[in-house]
Symmetry: C2
């Protein structure tokens, strides 16, 4: 591979001049510029980013550590992150933690070793020493979706409280009174918060959230299945299960089917995180939709702000309820709503009258 020296030799100038041309430094003669560019062309020269990074101490790269690539919520997040980063002149290296703290640490270490300019994390746990050290050491960092309390790092996330209240109102309106939740890991903020929001919303209707109706999941499908089976085995099973993420909802759906039962007739189902597939499941699943793309973009902007010396603010955006049929039919309505009009998410229809 041709180096800057080869270009310099070919163009008959020094490496300094080549470098100036490449970084369009003002004081280069037009003649030298054309000669260098010609040499670059004939040699097919491309600057070595590794060498450049060593010298400038900048990689123009962001690290993104997500909790689970197989979760469509995080892939969508990753996509919007990469898009915005590209627009701002950065590349992104994604690390997938598979909800495993050890893997998360592996990726954080790897990214720090590569001297990425900044780190975007959706933490799988309450904060490993490594992560805390990195934050304290001043690595530009931003938490997205989940965060670690007590750490001085901006957080970009969705607030689901309002949407959870809407959900509970919807469920209550359909006559449901025994509501259960499949929680995420207590080590994650989203794992805890969603339970709290749910409990609070129930309280507004004078409803309790008994311990038996709080199932401990880990954001993976299997745990949703397991917890739902537990619920169904209770002497008085819940009428509704609210899964704290989309994969556990999928597991719950499996569990219900495996017993030959039906959603929503035998057990209603709702999920946190809306994904496009929820329109096509049997039945379509009522979910709380986060503004995922906007979250990813805001997180990148906050991180790049920090990297480039600006403050970098926390952002909280509202989530919203998307009602479908998995909790019961609010209306008989027209023969079939038209999914082609709004394939990804349907508008909330909480105000439709019940038959």
């Amino acid at each position: 591979m041709a180096s800057i020296k080869d270009v310099a030799a070919e163009a008959g100038v020094s490496v300094a001049t080549v470098s100036r041309v490449l970084n369009d430094h003002p004081s280069v003669s037009a003649e030298a510029r054309t000669r260098v560019l010609a040499a670059v062309e004939t040699l097919g020269y491309r600057p070595n980013a590794v060498a450049r990074s060593l010298r400038t101490d900048q990689t123009h790269t962001l690290g993104l550590v997500i909790s689970d690539v197989l979760n469509p919520y995080f892939t969508e997040l990753a996509r919007s992150v990469e898009e915005e980063a590209r627009a701002l002149g950065y590349s992104v290296i994604i690390g997938n933690a598979d909800e495993r703290p050890d893997l998360q640490d592996h990726h954080v270490r790897n990214l720090l070793d590569r001297r990425i300019d900044g780190l975007l994390v959706s933490p799988t746990d309450g904060g490993s020493p490594l992560m805390l050290d990195a934050a304290r050491a001043g690595t530009p960092m931003v938490f997205v979706d989940r965060w670690i309390p007590g750490v001085e790092v901006p957080v970009v996330r969705a607030d689901g409280r309002g949407a959870v209240r809407d959900l509970v109102a919807h469920l209550h309106g359909l006559g449901h009174r025994r509501l259960a939740i499949i929680a995420g890991p207590a080590a994650t903020t989203t794992g805890r918060e969603r339970v709290e929001a749910f409990r609070e919303a129930l309280g507004a209707y004078g409803l309790e959230l008994p311990d038996a109706y709080i199932g401990q999941g880990d954001f993976q499908a299997d745990s949703g299945r397991r917890v739902t089976e537990g619920f169904l085995d209770l002497p008085e099973p819940p009428e509704v299960v609210f899964a704290a993420d989309n994969l556990m909802a999928l597991g719950a759906l499996d569990a219900v089917r495996a017993r030959g039962l039906r959603v929503p007739d035998d057990l209603a189902l709702a999920a946190f995180d809306d994904i496009r597939w929820f329109v096509h499941t049997d039945p379509p699943i009522t979910a709380i939709a986060q503004p995922t793309g906007e979250l990813g973009r805001a997180a990148v902007r906050a991180l790049v702000d920090r990297i480039e010396g600006r403050p970098g603010e926390s952002v909280t955006l509202p989530a919203r309820l998307v009602v479908r049929r998995s909790c019961g039919e609010p209306v008989p309505a027209s023969p079939e709503p038209d999914p082609a009009q709004a394939p990804a998410v349907q508008p909330p229809v909480t105000n439709r009258s019940h038959s």
Copy 2:
């Protein structure tokens, strides 16, 4: 951030000795080793991968350019690639092309500039000059899933011919005679091959594949919707639509629903690429499953073989048919198959007798 010099100073040795300890070179005294390790510990030293790469001309990094991160097939592929790479001591940088040749080139260029050790690509098109140059220049490269004909690069992929034959047998057995396909872009191998395999399989039953029954899609959901609408507008619409990937199948499902029609009664549906969500759609979708994880692992092994100077072989693995209910009920059968037993993919049932 502490550098190797700081460690050397702290330990009272030269940088050479520190480097030797870190790369466990044999000739270092036990005493020096412990002193260095202690210094590393107290300083929290981590080697700078950028500097190391510059010197050794190795990044221990693979580039993976996939066609679309939002497609679950590719996320699963990416996950298995990262897993195997990690096991072999490599990291992976993923570039998402969103089925756009220009974005694909952007990522390839970026990865080459970073001097990745090898490149794994699922090409979005027939081969840009950049990609061809890279292959010719001797960059270790492996194609996965899709490939570019005429380029000297190992290919790791699934052969769907057998499964497509099984699918056509299944459809024919159900009485379907007018079969249509939503093809992928003609610039991709998979876009062409799947049509050819389908046509061939139809031929075995004396069936034609008229041009009107070949819809041109682009592997994205929208195109599946559009093409399916076109099929439904034909004076003699097909009885079955076979989508060449999972996203176009989703679009097709949308289109059918939007007309108030039903799958499989009004139009049967099958897809190439099986994904876990197909178990949960309404109805569950009959699909051709690729051994995705195995493909990813084999691709990494082939690439690392090339990087480390071994030959690096092409691999072709068989795909297989997974029958569900979207083409009609092959058997009245027991009330409901148990999805909990095999949540991701159900076993092939091509050998069931037709009723």
